[in-house]
Amino acid sequence: MTEPIIRFEKVVKRFGDVTVLDGLDFTVAPGEKVTIIGPSGSGKSTILRILMTLEDISDGVVWVGDEPLWHEKAADGTLKPASEAHLHRMRTRLGMVFQSFNLFPHMTVLRNITEAPVHVLKVGKAEARERAMGLLDMVGLTEHADKFPYQLSGGQQQRVAIARALAMRPDILLFDEPTSALDPELVGEVQEVIRKLAEEHDLTMLLVTHEMRFAREISDRVCFIDAGAIREEGAPEELFTAPTEERTQDFLRAVLDDG
């Protein structure tokens, strides 16, 4: 097996007295599309937020490639807490799509996409613009380049947010419930973009979702997480049709009855 691109090693995350991740072990191979499912409060989003450095860890080590994310290697080989400079460097490998889009409301669609490439990656303006237009074409929104986010539907905003994340050329793209905030009729267009990405790119994708059918379609592997640890994982066909753990069975019965 190739070296994993993401590796959680006995990761613990506590918020005050609440333990959200309880010694989580979890790996993702380069280019793999992994979906994380589980009841709310199980720590699914926390995994993504730790990777995006929005949430630190209480214990354990997270590896991205061969480097620890929340630590730095000291001269004597031991790990010490990461500096902001280290986090800044590590973040260049990751991108995130949020449940609530989080587009910058005071910038046009185009500027939303070019702002970080120009000011963080120091790409030339013309080049950033050209690439942004290419990404807008991919998500089917070229004619909306000069609009502001409030002029777009939720589905269109989320497609812009995907283009914005891709503009930073991440190796790993994190999707945190990307369709949960959308009206039902807009879910499809966003899923279509994510599906296309999954099929056509060797990007590593980590998706948290409640849309089981979608998870089944696009994932190489599905992980069921409950009470802060992975309880069962496997290829989508196996996990959805023949879950072995009782907790997985209960969860799937509940969500599939629902939908």
Binding site: L54, H88, M96, N102, P105, H106, H119, F148, Y150
Partner: protein, 230 residues
């Protein structure tokens, strides 16, 4: 006679007409003190707001203490302090400048709270998106958070602008010839306080209504989603 202009105290009407240009001189000083004080407050208030939110308590706590002190002590004391104590340390400033600084410094403490509220009203998701896109914290603040915070705080800022103008008469105690000071001097010399003081009240009313109108327009002109970046 004041500012080279004579008044005609024959009756109240002739007095009113003849002192009007004199009062306008005072009004002009009041406006200047208001604008300069407000400008100082806007700039210093932002600095205080940023320092209060500093990640290290070594910075944020003293700033909070200073800000609390500025808000909880009377303007007059702060003004006297600047006017009478600073010269002991060799810093002698003109009365007008001392007054404008006193106004600006006290109001910077109020405005820092306005900034804080505006900044905190920007959704946390905006900070997270900026971090995920790897913006430096300074750029996140100046280009993502602040442009969204400012339209939210314009009405409150406008209220403080009006407040400052109403505090300018305090500067008369350090000899600044602002509107009220001019009016009382006229009163002292003509033994008619009713006319000049009534006119000061009227001028203040007009000034305040105009300022409120201006703020309202500015508030409506600013897009609610933030100041657009080209």
């Amino acid at each position: 006679m004041l500012f080279g202009i004579e008044w005609d105290a024959t009756n109240s009407w002739t007095l009113a007409v003849s002192i009007f240009p004199i009062l306008l001189h005072g009004l002009w000083v009041t406006l200047q003190a208001t604008v300069l004080g407000f400008f100082i407050a806007v700039v210093l208030g932002l600095v205080l707001a940023v320092l209060k939110a500093a990640p290290t308590r070594l910075v944020s706590w003293p700033t909070r203490l200073i800000s609390e002190f500025l808000r909880d002590t009377p303007l007059l004391i702060q003004l006297f302090f600047l006017y009478y104590v600073l010269p002991e340390f060799g810093i002698v400033l003109p009365a007008f400048l001392t007054g404008a600084i006193a106004l600006g410094v006290q109001y910077s403490a109020y405005l820092s709270e306005v900034y804080r509220a505006g900044i905190e009203a920007v959704p946390i998701g905006q900070h997270e998106a900026a971090r995920a896109l790897n913006f430096a914290p300074t750029r996140t603040f100046t280009h993502i958070i602040l442009p969204q915070a400012i339209p939210r705080i314009v009405p409150a800022m406008g209220n403080y602008l009006v407040s400052i103008s109403k505090d300018v008469p305090v500067l008369s105690v350090v000899t600044v010839l602002e509107l009220l000071n001019v009016a009382t001097i006229i009163g002292d010399r003509t033994f008619n306080y009713l006319v000049p003081l009534s006119m000061v009240g009227g001028l203040y009313l007009i000034m305040t209504l105009l300022a409120a109108q201006g703020v309202k327009r500015l508030d409506m002109a600013l897009p609610k989603t933030g100041i657009p970046l080209k």
